[in-house]
Amino acid sequence: MHSTEHLGPRKIIGFLDGNVFITETVLLALIVAVIMVVLALLSTRKLEKEPKGVQLVVELIVEGMYKLTGTMMDKRNAEIYAPFVGTLFLFLIFTNATGMFGVRPVTADVNTAFALSTITFLVIQGSSIRNRGILGHIKHYGEPYPFMFPIMVIKDLSLPISLAFRLFGNITGGMIIMAFVFKALHSATDGVGITIPFLQFLIPLPLNLFFDIFEPILQGFIFTTLTMAFLAMSLTTHDDH
């Protein structure tokens, strides 16, 4: 499984004497993206009025995304932002769960986490500027009292940092615990004196269930919920409430 010696992602392909390189994180993220696109294309090939089979499942997912976004903001904005939030949610679940296949989880790399949270930050700032205008966007930091301006700016700037570190820390913690468990089981089988790794067969399964299925869904849900909460905050003007 994963080793604790390489905390960072391994470099797989290098160009120009290794100065320009592709890490396994980038490759896995690309693979996940391609798989998601292929799944989406396959499931929407033969659309029918009466959904059944795969179409039913996909419609359930899409409807769930729209409903989840609708709980946080009004209907018009929910229809605009639901595709972004839904894509983020599905991508987070898939990338967090790559540890299930014995490879390094994609989000256990601080670069991936920061890339995702930077996208969120830009979308929030952009929607705030689109909603209020640039002058209104700058002015809303000084509300309700002008002396709160620096505090409000720090509040907005700390959002991507805390989002990224929350995701990265949770997934990396799970990865390190799994690595330690496999190391311990390995030395236990060596101590018994049997060369067949029979202890690694079923004992890590509950931990896999927690760290590779439950935790990815929970972390994806939390990431998207916080994104939606801040989006909704950027969409309400001061007169609305």
């Binding site: 604790t4 905390l7 570190f165 929350r166 820390g169 949770n170 939390i222």
Partner: protein
Amino acid sequence: MNFPLVTSAGFVLGMSALAAAIVMLVALAIGIGQGLIGMKAVEGVARQPEAKSDILQTMVVGQAVTETTGIFAFIIAIVLVLANPLVSLL
């Protein structure tokens, strides 16, 4: 007995390991905080069972925000143990 007993790099690494252990004491406070959130959520569900899904969602998000401090501490601990920046300062 030959001096020094510990090399300076070894001393820094040992102290870093201790510091990582102390940093992770923040888990105590997080456990208490998440327990309080869970307690209040259970009370809310007991009082209003029909609002269960809303309460669950709010509880999970609140617990995630509570956890952030611990995650920061965890990252500091990882850096101190596995990628120590202090040894290179010697």
